[in-house]
Amino acid sequence: MQNLYTVSKDYRKEIADDKYYYARSCIRQNFFPGSEVTFLNILKKDLDRDVFDDPKHTTCTGIAYHSDVIPFDTIQTVVARHFALMSENGYENFIASCVTSFGMYIEITETWKHFPEQLELIREHLKKATGREFMIPKNIAHTSDIVYKYRMRIAEQMKYPLVNAKTGQPLKVVDHIGCHYAKMFPDKGEGGAEFTQVLQGMIKAWGGATVDYPERRHCCGFGFRQYLVQANRGYSVSNSKKKFESMQPYEPDLIVANCPGCAMFMDRWQYTLNEMQGTRYGASDTMIPVLTYEEMAGLVLGYDPWDMGLQMHQVDVTPLLDKMGVKYDPDGKYRTRTGRPIGSYTPQQSR
């Protein structure tokens, strides 16, 4: 059934044009190591934007905050330091790679709006701890917002659209947004919390078709506490399973995730569920490849899949590359750029 959602004025998001201070994600650069570099390359080379990748910034501590390991005052001070680094480098627009970080930056700046005394306290904390002073960013965006904003320009330079090269049919793409992007502050996400447009916009602009399945708005199951404690992981994997089962009748070609945690779990839990219960999702026996939006944009623009680190995914992406007609070197998959092998591949047995 067609989804006729149109973005209301309440959910139109302001996204800065240029001059971004970039905050990396702890987990995106570990799980999908080529993803952030791809984003920086797209912004700098393809879109000619000024983006500053600061080696001095640290984790936002969002994971620790959401797992009750560090208190709110501490994370506010860490975030204040990031804002200080931004100001020191002459930037006003803050962009975060991680959805949870993005949620934290919004939660904290909103807190300061409503509790100015808290802002003063944090200024004092930061001054005492580091001698730094900070400005609140003029614009805070998630990095997917930037890709979304420039999706049509990427479409103009597109090499491989999200289309099955053999049949000419659009690929069926599942978009997954990540709870911390817009569920906490719906007006901070393009399209709000229920029908978020940020990934859909990219998919449609690049020739794909989005899959509107019943559990589309459901959590991927990451949920820090559930995942960090082994005994709780049943909650996590069960939520992912609920989503996979709901999307399965549509036989999606690809899942694209907004949040690094979601991308990780949608990818790894398919393997886990297969090991636990023998289930395999997707049209063929290959499971559903999961990409980050940076990787999806990179593929569309013709970046080399192995340079982007797509071999680091649990679910094999080569069937997707073949579908899209992406040219790649099969032997390059498990070699570094200089040709050194990075490990051997044993195909998973179908169960």
């Binding site: 005994a231 709780n232 992981r233 049943g234 909650y235 994997v237 069960s238 609920k242 636990m276 219960q277």
Partner: protein, 119 residues
């Protein structure tokens, strides 16, 4: 493979999946079951529910939702005193509902002979 955790089954009632035979049978012989408005008067006054974990209001609801796995064990807790009928503001003949449930379960398990299952 044992990961030290496993998937959990959904607690959600899936209305599309239940077998309507029991509820259709009950409504055929005791249509007053339709008008329950879940006030709980029956359960408040219930002789059995006062002593053991037995909730007649909930039982009629679960039958309407097709959740009948524990029904046989549950229904046997009813003492058939009929106080639920005295209190019911909508005149639901709950005692007959209980009797009909027992009858249907017996028919289905082959313990009670009917025209259809006599060999």
């Amino acid at each position: 493979m044992d990961f030290g955790y496993t998937t959990l089954e959904t607690r959600s009632i899936d209305y599309d999946k239940f077998d309507r035979k029991l509820i259709e049978y009950l409504l055929q012989y005791e249509p007053s079951l339709l008008v329950c408005m879940a006030c709980g008067g029956c359960t408040a006054t219930c002789s059995a529910g006062n002593l053991v974990d037995f909730n007649i209001r909930r039982i009629q609801l679960m039958v309407k939702r097709g959740e009948t796995d524990t029904l046989k064990a549950e229904i046997d807790k009813c003492m058939l005193c009929g106080k639920c009928m005295l209190i019911c503001p909508r005149g639901v003949n709950l005692r007959n509902v209980v009797m009909l449930i027992k009858k249907k379960l017996s028919i289905d398990s082959g313990q009670l002979a009917t025209k259809n299952n006599i060999k």
